[in-house]
């Protein structure tokens, strides 16, 4: 049976590497989704969630409710992401270089994928941040309404409402831009 967040947090406090890796595996994608919702940039999102994990491990004793590690971590991710987008454009120019894809897909295919990503990110940028978090966690990461509500600290009804509005607005924006996701 999977260990609970609380068990893993207690193990990390005792210096258990395996538990730290397990928590990272469990939350890395969600952390990236939340960071992407805040920064709107994949490279910045990756940096932010890495920094957030390091901060979380360093401050694991400050996690007052280990059973709600996910919520605590995602707040760190959010804060780190907000700090990151405040830094001057010089740093962000470096980050953009890091968005270069790995070798594999043909340049044409990669260009097309890149365009689709850019359109999606542009549409996401036009909806409220909390709506972005909800739609990314639900439709990209496959989290359930209850999980999102628990980890974002929102009522489940609010999550459903945010998701509904986010999807409707995104469909409208993407339709205007010739995309039908």
């Amino acid at each position: 049976m999977d260990e609970t967040d609380a068990e893993l947090v207690h193990a990390v406090r005792r210096g258990d590497r395996r538990a730290a890796n397990h928590l990272m595996e469990r939350y890395l994608r969600a952390a990236r989704a939340v960071a992407l919702a805040v920064t709107g940039s994949e490279a910045d999102a990756e940096d932010a969630c890495q920094d957030a994990f390091v901060t979380a491990i360093e401050r694991i004793d400050d996690c007052r409710d280990p059973a709600r590690f996910g919520k605590w971590l995602l707040q760190i991710v959010r804060n780190r992401s907000r700090n990151l987008i405040r830094v001057p454009a010089v740093r962000r120019a470096v980050a953009l270089d890091e968005t270069a894809p790995s070798a594999g897909a043909s340049p044409l295919v990669e260009l097309e994928r890149g365009e689709i990503r850019e359109r999606l990110l542009a549409a996401l940028a036009e909806i409220p941040e909390q709506h972005r978090e909800v739609v990314l966690l639900h439709d990209l990461e496959g989290w359930k309404h209850r999980e999102i509500a628990d980890r974002l600290g929102l009522p489940e009804g609010t999550v459903r409402s945010h998701l509904h509005h986010a999807r409707r607005k995104l469909r409208q924006l993407l339709g205007e831009r010739g995309m039908t996701p």
Binding site: G15, A20, N21, I57, G104, R117, D139, L140, R167
Partner: protein, 119 residues
Amino acid sequence: MMDPERMDLSPLDPARDPERWSRVIAVTLMRVEAALLSRTSADGVLDLVGAWSRPILAAAAILALVLGTADAIIGSRPSPLDRASEARRMAVLSDHSLGRGQRPTGGQLLVALRSRSAR
């Protein structure tokens, strides 16, 4: 059950570029482990200080005892009034002894000095 309303956000899926995503995981893992190691080392220092704290506390208690005793001794130092009274008694003793053509004995001096603490 598949949600028919679900949007296709797969172009934003980090796994679309497995090589890049593996790199992100590896770097995060490395940084997390470094943070954990540094945390464990910091705890080690705290343990060390903790281990020291008991002897330090014992040493502090002994020091406090010594200082307290010294303070008690210093605190029992005669006041100027006591000193004047003591000097007067010594003068009377000396005068008395000299009047008899003798030096006061050690015993007489001790009795004169002790008479202060007896009061």
